[in-house]
């Protein structure tokens, strides 16, 4: 970005908007927008509170359970769909329907089915994350070059060996890409699930802060969540890059 002929670093635009926020906050135009500096200090206070820490533990736990379930179900299902036409025919329609469906609308039904508790949140995380994992694993398995499979056969590999040593490894970059997107969707799932259930974890805190008009803490919590989601995505991307060196080259 250049301004009046001089190069302005990317971070400058962020700083500029934060400055605007700070000024608007200090002018007291809206109670919804407190000054940015007070949000930051509220954030520091927040992370030290017991309520935030236990809410974080619950959130993390629901997220991990939901994601583990999504990966252990999603990857095998996708792989099977990619290998067997029958299974693909049975599940293909549903997976494609759910992957783009507005799943938040289902959460109230989940609450009836699973109660107003953690189970509902875990199931929400699962439902948000699993479909894209299935689809990407399926795509990865389907794009394995036939010559690579023929190579395995011609050197005497059994079907199982071909599956484990060639098909799975060949599909690994796509499987990981699916898991990365799944993780990000899972973060959405855990937040939306908790907010809708609204008596556990961050949902409870959000409910509390917005009802008591504690906008500093409300924003601080939001920003912490944003930062966590970005960090998670960056972490997986970093891991993916180490695998990906061969994905682009095949």
């Amino acid at each position: 970005m250049t301004l009046f002929g001089t190069r302005v670093p990317m971070m400058a635009s962020l700083l500029f908007w934060l400055l605007v926020w700070e000024i608007v906050g200090r002018l007291d135009v809206m109670f919804l927008i407190p000054p940015f500096t007070s949000i930051v200090s509220a954030g520091f206070e927040l992370v030290q509170t017991g309520s935030w820490q236990s809410a974080s533990m619950i959130t993390l736990r629901s997220f991990l359970y939901g994601m583990t379930l999504a990966i252990t179900v999603g990857v095998p299902l996708g792989v099977l769909m990619g290998r067997f036409k029958v299974i693909d025919n049975i599940f293909g329609l549903w997976v494609n329907m759910f992957v783009s469906a507005p799943l938040s609308a289902l959460v109230p039904i989940l609450m009836i089915l699973f109660g107003m508790g953690e189970t509902t949140v875990v199931v929400t995380v699962f439902l948000f994350a699993v479909w894209i994992i299935v689809l990407d694993a399926r795509a990865g398995v389907m794009q394995v070059p036939t010559s690579l499979i023929e190579m395995g056969r011609s050197y005497g590999a059994s079907r199982w060996t071909i599956f484990t040593k060639i098909i799975l490894l060949s599909a690994l970059p796509e499987i990981l890409a699916g898991i990365r997107i799944g993780l990000i969707r899972g973060v959405k799932g855990v937040v939306i699930g908790q907010i809708l259930v609204s008596i556990i974890g961050y949902g409870e805190l959000f409910e509390l802060y917005s009802r008591s008009f504690d906008m500093e803490r409300f924003w601080a919590l939001t920003m912490l969540l944003f930062a966590a989601a970005m960090l998670l995505s960056a972490g997986v991307e970093h891991f993916e890059k180490r695998i990906e060196y061969y994905a682009g080259a095949r």
Partner: protein
């Protein structure tokens, strides 16, 4: 036309010679409604390189894969060392047109993959793999990944992998088609050296008439679909001369011309 360098086998279904490693008997192949091969009878001798030559789509790859046991024939029989082929076997190795290397594995692991599948102990596998890596001129590249190599080098890996399992029969499907002209000539000379060295049976598919005449002991011309054997030519090139002299030799040029005339009828 009297050509001293040209000896044609009179009958295509010649009587079984003693040293036939691979016998192809009455092979027919249909893909659904498409008749790819019809009534193929051929024999391939030990230590000889036979080239399958013919117009695109005439079934060269199909025949090679049937011999490899990768594709079942609709009817007919393949015998290797006297045994009927029902699937892939350790006495045959395939070199793929698109190399078929595992992108996540190093050159060393790729070359040793055939041995790995045979459960050869790691130390022995690596020793054999290294020897063949050196033989195809890739010493020093053992720890590189396929995407770090040029097309020509990748196919050398594919060839080393096929040699490493010590098969009697090597099946090569247009192995040099993705290689530039300079490297291609180098490859052809290396291939001749390996044929000399390794006393194996080579079955080779190419689109290039010059390449076929240069490297082959025998050339099988296939007709367009459905593929049938239309002509068998033994080029009888004197390989003691230098590569450049061979390519200028009158006998060599006559065989090239002869095959060109044979194929031209299909092009028109």
């Amino acid at each position: 036309m009297a050509n001293p360098a040209l000896a044609r086998s009179g009958s295509v279904t010649s009587a079984a010679s003693n040293d036939a490693v691979v016998q192809v008997r009455e092979i027919c192949k249909n893909y659904g409604d498409v008749e790819a091969l019809r009534g193929i009878n051929l024999e391939f001798e030990r230590g000889k390189l036979t080239t399958l030559l013919g117009p695109s789509g005439c079934g060269k790859t199909t025949l090679l894969k049937i011999i490899a046991g990768l594709v079942p024939a609709t009817s007919g029989e393949i015998c290797v060392n006297g045994h009927a082929v029902t699937g892939p076997g350790p006495e045959r190795a395939f070199v793929f047109q698109d190399f078929a290397l595992m992108p996540w594995a190093t050159v060393l692991r790729n070359v040793g993959f055939g041995l790995e599948l045979k459960r050869v102990p790691a130390a022995e596998r690596d020793r054999t793999a290294r020897r063949y890596i050196e033989q195809v001129g890739l010493a020093g590249f053992e720890q590189k990944y396929p995407h770090e190599l040029s097309g020509g080098m990748r196919q050398r890996v594919g060839i080393a992998r096929a040699f490493a399992v010590n098969a009697d029969v090597l099946l090569l499907d247009e192995p040099f088609s993705a290689v530039d002209e300079q490297n291609r000539r180098k490859f052809q000379e290396d291939l001749l050296r390996l044929v000399e060295l390794e006393k194996k049976t080579f079955i080779f598919v190419t689109h290039s008439i010059e390449e076929a005449v240069y490297v082959s002991d025998r050339i099988v011309l296939l007709s367009p679909r459905p593929g049938r054997v239309s002509q068998v030519i033994d080029p009888m090139i004197d390989r003691s001369a230098s590569p450049d002299d061979i390519r200028r030799d009158a006998g060599y040029l006559d065989v090239v011309e002869e095959i060109w005339q044979g194929l031209r009828q299909y092009a028109e």
